[in-house]
């Protein structure tokens, strides 16, 4: 921080730092408890004496998760859904963001407002018409029924956030490219795209999350063919409200959280600057 007020005086700063570390511990605790729960040996959770450590970590819960269900398959299904959504919505959003930032045309502002309004549509309410739409197109019980809606729902926010990244590429570069005889398409894919790519990756976290976390569509559209199920549904198999298998639930939760966590940490820096840009304009 290079603010003129500088860091506060020493005792206050130490208090603030202690406070920050304490908060970090509280915030991280549920995740710690999740991983701990996943590694606890069978009897320990039920012992009713929750100790914040375990002396005999075991992989039993993970084995149960992979054994009882086709967990690996669901994991793969989830990866396919999230992967296709990320790539498709990323490319589509990149084109659209370029259109609304690099051109002036009629209805431009109207479109922007519509993208904003589209973000507020409660996805869950659309489950009913989407269910019939997917049925009519024979997409029920296929991964397509999860991929298609998520591409649509992640687009508005992706376009909104990408605008900042596209805008940040200097226009002089565009002029120079044209002077050198580059075509529009060439400029778009060989110059603009690589420059915007880091921002695109940061933006894709959100489409990744919405597709990866999706619970409602999976529950509503994958009705009979469980081989097309995704992780959230698989997880709930272990979670019976009256008698949950906590070890299994925590092991499944851990496995489901790791990919998102990795993704997040990788794009963390871009994310912060991107959010700043997206909301500040």
């Amino acid at each position: 921080m290079n603010l003129p007020r500088g860091l506060p005086a020493r005792p206050w700063r130490l208090a603030a730092e202690a406070c920050a570390l304490l908060t970090a511990a509280v915030v991280a605790f549920p995740l710690y408890w999740m991983v701990l729960g996943a590694f606890r040996p069978a009897g320990e959770i039920e012992s009713g004496e929750p100790r914040p450590w375990t002396l005999a970590p075991s992989l039993d819960s993970f084995r149960r998760v992979f054994g009882q269900q086709e967990f690996g398959r669901y994991f793969l299904n989830s990866l396919v859904v999230a992967g296709v959504v990320v790539i498709a919505s990323g490319l589509i959003a990149f084109l659209a963001a370029t259109a609304v930032t690099r051109f002036r045309f009629r209805f431009r502002t109207t479109l922007l407002i519509m993208f904003l309004v589209a973000q507020t549509v409660p996805v869950e309410a659309l489950t009913i018409p989407l269910f019939f739409l997917m049925r009519d197109f024979g997409q029920l019980n296929t991964l397509g029924s999860l991929i298609l809606p998520h591409i649509a729902f992640s687009l508005p926010f992706a376009i909104w956030m990408l605008r900042g990244f596209v805008k940040a590429v200097p226009e002089a570069l565009e002029e120079a490219a044209y002077l050198d005889g580059a075509s529009r398409t060439r400029f778009l894919w060989q110059i603009l795209f690589p420059l915007v790519l880091p921002g695109l990756v940061a933006t894709s976290v959100f489409s990744f999350i919405s597709a990866w976390n999706d619970f409602l569509f999976a529950k509503s559209f994958i009705i009979s063919d469980t081989s097309q199920s995704t992780l959230p549904m698989a997880l709930l198999v272990f979670f019976k409200p009256d008698d949950p298998d906590w070890g299994g639930v925590m092991a499944g939760s851990t496995l489901m959280t790791i990919p998102v966590l990795v993704f997040f940490v990788l794009v963390q820096r871009r994310l912060v600057s991107g959010l700043g840009g997206a909301v500040k304009d």
Partner: protein
């Protein structure tokens, strides 16, 4: 703050510019039209019909009911209870999330790198946690038999999901836990983006810390705070997974239902697709109203889209 350099796309290409942006926009518009706009239209349409399992399977013809579904919804006491619960719950979530997020954002500016990164990383972890796993983990933490929270607080086997308010409180804690990081990170980025000279000038002029906050930083952060607030309103009004998983589909006798879950239960559990759609439309209208307020606020602040 709004930068003064507004986007000024190259105007040289004049006439040719006409179709190019639309070509770029075409894929997005097709997808959004087919999978967002059309379903919204369908939602409105279904809400006007008697549409139950019999109609879905083709056993009975669909009957146009006009506003009959809406009359049923508005005539049902449970709807008003659920609506009230949704509004109060969402408001509580928004206020708590903003308070925690902003406070921590300020805290982040006052500490050195190591505590800052630690807190940032912990927050990112909470943010990245999928709603389903977040819900199960928090249930585990507050489990009456095996959870550490009751043990620490000495609550014995007190069940958090049994009572209406304690169940809502539990969901609220989870929602705040996974949504404050967005506020914290965004507001922190906003504070960092305030030009140093402005603050220097203020402090040279003898402004106190508090005065700098109130008269310099707060107005400069207002656009960000507006965005964060509205985003939180929109998200928290639509909470689905947490309620569904943590209270087992809406709590004992539906005591923890919010509109979203209520609409889902009406449609898919009771096969009242028409009724469910009508509730969906009500939700859509409420959220659109919030968005319009948002747009007006942005306009008034002279933000350029």
């Amino acid at each position: 703050m709004t930068p003064t350099t507004s986007p000024r796309p190259p105007g040289r290409r004049g006439a040719r510019d006409g179709t190019v942006p639309w070509l770029y926009l075409a894929p997005a518009l097709v997808v959004l039209g087919a999978l967002l706009a059309y379903p919204v239209y369908q939602l409105g349409l279904i809400s006007l019909f008697r549409y139950t399992q019999a109609q879905v399977s083709g056993g009975q013809p669909t009957v146009f009911r006009g506003l009959g579904n809406y009359a049923d919804v508005f005539g049902d006491d449970q709807f008003w209870r659920v609506l009230l619960a949704t509004v109060v719950f969402a408001a509580a979530c928004v206020v708590s999330t903003l308070a925690v997020g902003c406070a921590l954002a300020v805290l982040l500016t006052r500490v050195r790198a190591v505590p800052r990164l630690t807190l940032m990383l912990a927050a990112l972890g909470a943010w990245a946690t999928p709603a389903v796993t977040g819900s199960t983990v928090w249930l585990f933490l507050f489990d009456p038999d095996f959870g550490p929270v009751n043990r620490i607080l000495g609550l014995g086997d007190h069940s958090w999901t049994y009572g209406r308010y304690s169940a809502f409180l539990l969901v609220l804690l989870e929602v705040v836990w996974c949504s404050f990081p967005f506020v914290m990170v965004t507001v922190y980025a906003g504070i960092r983006a305030v030009p140093t000279e402005v603050l220097e000038a203020a402090s040279l002029d003898g402004a106190s810390q508090w005065r700098i906050w109130r008269s310099v930083l707060a107005p400069m952060l207002r656009p960000i705070l507006t965005v964060v607030t509205i985003q939180s309103v929109i998200w928290d009004f639509k909470v689905f997974t947490q309620i569904y998983v943590m209270t087992g589909g809406g709590g004992i006798a539906g005591q923890n239902l919010v509109l979203n879950v209520y609409a889902y239960q009406q449609a898919f559990a009771s096969s009242q697709y028409g009724l469910g759609s009508a509730i969906g439309v009500v939700m859509l209208v409420l959220l659109l109203a919030v968005t319009l307020v948002y747009l007006r606020l942005l306009r008034r602040q002279g933000e350029e889209l």
